[in-house]
């Protein structure tokens, strides 16, 4: 078991210095995520113009995986359409869950592929997906908190 598979440079970097770590103004969507197992918290705000995520940012606290994943997520979806973002989440989810066939599609994930190692650490999957679940919740503008339970 190689820890480096999980804690790659990119993840350590984004965990320590998360990108888009501020609330964008203006914003018209908000999502809150909470991982009850370890107390990871994320508040996400984004500006949706039509079908495009024109700006996105978050404030959060928690483990390196959760914060780094949210950080790379915001980088990946900023400027993309909702549809593209949802497609990315689908691929990302399949990758971290270690689903068959997921391993082949890393190119389209770009930097997000650094989280491939999470599939060897099933206890941390919820950390890696928290930011994405929160994004989902923000896009749907649901009132309650996203949780990975």
């Amino acid at each position: 078991m190689d820890l480096r598979e999980l804690y790659q440079e990119v993840i350590l970097d984004h965990g320590k210095n998360p990108r888009n770590h501020h609330f964008p103004e203006p914003h018209n969507r908000e999502g809150r995520g909470y991982n009850p197992l370890c107390g990871d918290k994320i508040t996400l705000r984004l500006q949706l113009d039509g079908a495009q995520i024109s700006d996105i940012g978050f404030v959060g606290q928690g483990c390196a995986i959760s914060q780094a994943s949210c950080s790379t997520m915001t980088e990946a979806v900023k400027g993309k359409t909702v549809q593209d973002a949802e497609a990315l989440f689908s691929k990302f989810h399949a990758m971290v869950m270690g689903e068959d066939g997921a391993a082949d599609d890393f190119d389209s994930l770009g930097k997000l592929a650094v989280f491939a190692g999470v599939r060897e650490f099933p206890m941390r999957v919820k950390c890696a997906t928290l930011g994405w679940h929160t994004l989902n919740q923000a896009l749907r503008n649901e009132g309650s908190e996203a949780t990975t339970e």
Partner: protein, 418 residues
């Protein structure tokens, strides 16, 4: 040499941890290619072979339902089950087996008291007193019943060292306090509460007292006569016994006056559609087929545990905890959470370098098992304005070498994140 004579021989000897470790099969395995260092006994303890055998033997031989049949297997199973009850009675020094109820665990024991005693006897405006360091299982059942009857939940604050002081307790105790529920030992912080004195104060106000003994029974002596508590709850799986079994001790006259918790078979003397007559204690509170193998396994666990000189055992654990406290305090950027002078078993901590969840994953890669998170004590986390801690906790099989392995693993955390 039979297991029984091996165990009996230990009684007069000092605590020989290396010999004791051989009794625990789960201890002897590798995790990620490294020898397992198990520092999570507060979550659940490993089991000695005698307990594993006791449970297996129930299914292999005395496999029968209890109390019901006249055949030999049932007689043997019943004798073993009731024998385990007597073992639990003696362990707690309860007056009678009428006062020893088998439950699924501490949580169910507390819910039983909440729904059977508190729901019946609390009135609107009454107060239930708990403390800030309680496990959720000693908070939520009281929230539920207070909601149901319109009573108020009052909380004794803890100090920043994680103590519940007599002064703070007295300040929250009032003439309206009808029940006090508190941990004997804190699971998140390891604090040993000064329960004897607090129980006296509570009784002066006419309140009944329930102690959550889940973390206590394996680390401090428990004598319900000396403590004079009204209810005492503990779990088998934190006392080197199986999961799915626990005990509620209750003062006989209180249990007599309480309505049943669950209805069903065994807790009745007779059933007609016109009228059902409940069974005597303790059966009134044991509806349905119980965890027979679990209870018998718990009996074996108590026998194993009490086969040691408990003074020597506690002294051993104290020495390891002292070593843990000193070693952890010397790690750069590490802060201990829970620093009461009177502590057992648990060392909760934070590191500047990394979040507890990351700490846990990294030390796991070195074979070290600790727990990370809020430990079902979110109010404790809130007190320190944190979301989670990493917690190492000791059992009787742990050594100072185990602590050293943890500290080495923490160096890895520093390397990776620092």
């Amino acid at each position: 040499m039979t297991q029984a004579s091996t165990v009996a021989a230990s009684k007069d000897a000092p605590f020989d941890v290396l010999r004791v470790r051989r009794d625990f099969p789960a201890l002897h395995q590798e995790v990620h290619g490294k020898p397992l260092v198990y520092l999570d006994s507060a979550a659940t303890t490993l089991k000695p072979q005698v307990v594993i055998d006791a449970v297996a033997d129930v299914y292999a031989r005395d496999c029968a339902n209890i109390h019901r049949a006249v055949h030999l297997l049932s007689q043997r199973a019943t004798a073993q089950y009731e024998g385990a009850r007597e073992t639990a009675r003696a362990f707690l020094n309860a007056n009678s087996t009428h006062e020893v109820i088998f439950t699924r665990g501490t949580t169910e024991s507390i819910n039983l008291v909440a729904q059977s005693w508190a729901r019946t006897f609390l009135q609107e405006g009454d107060e239930v007193l708990i403390t800030e360091l309680e496990h959720h299982s000693n908070i939520v059942p009281w929230q539920i019943v207070c909601d149901q009857v319109g009573a108020e939940l009052v909380v004794v604050p803890m100090t920043d060292r994680g103590e519940i002081t007599r002064e703070a307790f007295e300040e929250q105790l009032s003439s309206r306090t009808r029940l006090v529920a508190m941990a004997h030992v804190s699971n998140a912080l390891g604090t040993v509460l000064p329960v004897a004195g607090l129980i006296e104060l509570a009784h002066e106000k006419g309140a009944v007292v329930l102690l959550d003994g889940a973390q206590a029974v394996s680390h401090v002596p428990v004598d319900v006569q000396e403590l004079d508590c009204d209810f005492y709850a503990f779990s088998g799986h934190k006392l080197y016994g199986p999961t799915g079994i626990g005990v509620l001790y209750g003062r006989e006259r209180l249990l007599e006056g309480m309505p049943p918790y669950q209805g069903g078979g065994d807790m009745i003397r007779s059933v007609t559609f016109a009228e059902t007559i409940y069974n005597d204690l303790p059966y009134k509170f044991e509806a349905g087929t119980p965890n027979i193998a679990g209870a018998i396994g718990l009996g074996a666990a108590i026998e194993y545990f009490t086969s040691f000189d408990l003074h020597a055992l506690h002294a051993h654990e104290s020495a390891v905890l002292r070593h843990a406290t000193e070693s952890l305090e010397s790690v750069d950027g590490l802060r201990l959470i829970g620093t009461a002078p009177d502590k057992v078993s648990a060392a909760s901590f934070l590191m500047d370098a990394a979040h507890p969840h990351d700490i846990g994953t990294i030390v796991d890669s070195e074979g070290v098992a600790i727990r990370t998170g809020h430990h079902c004590a979110q109010p404790v986390m809130e007190h320190f304005e944190i979301a989670a801690t990493a917690r190492a906790s000791l059992g009787l099989y742990n050594t100072t070498e185990d602590v050293d392995a943890l500290v080495r693993a923490l160096q890895k955390v520093q390397e990776l994140f620092g």
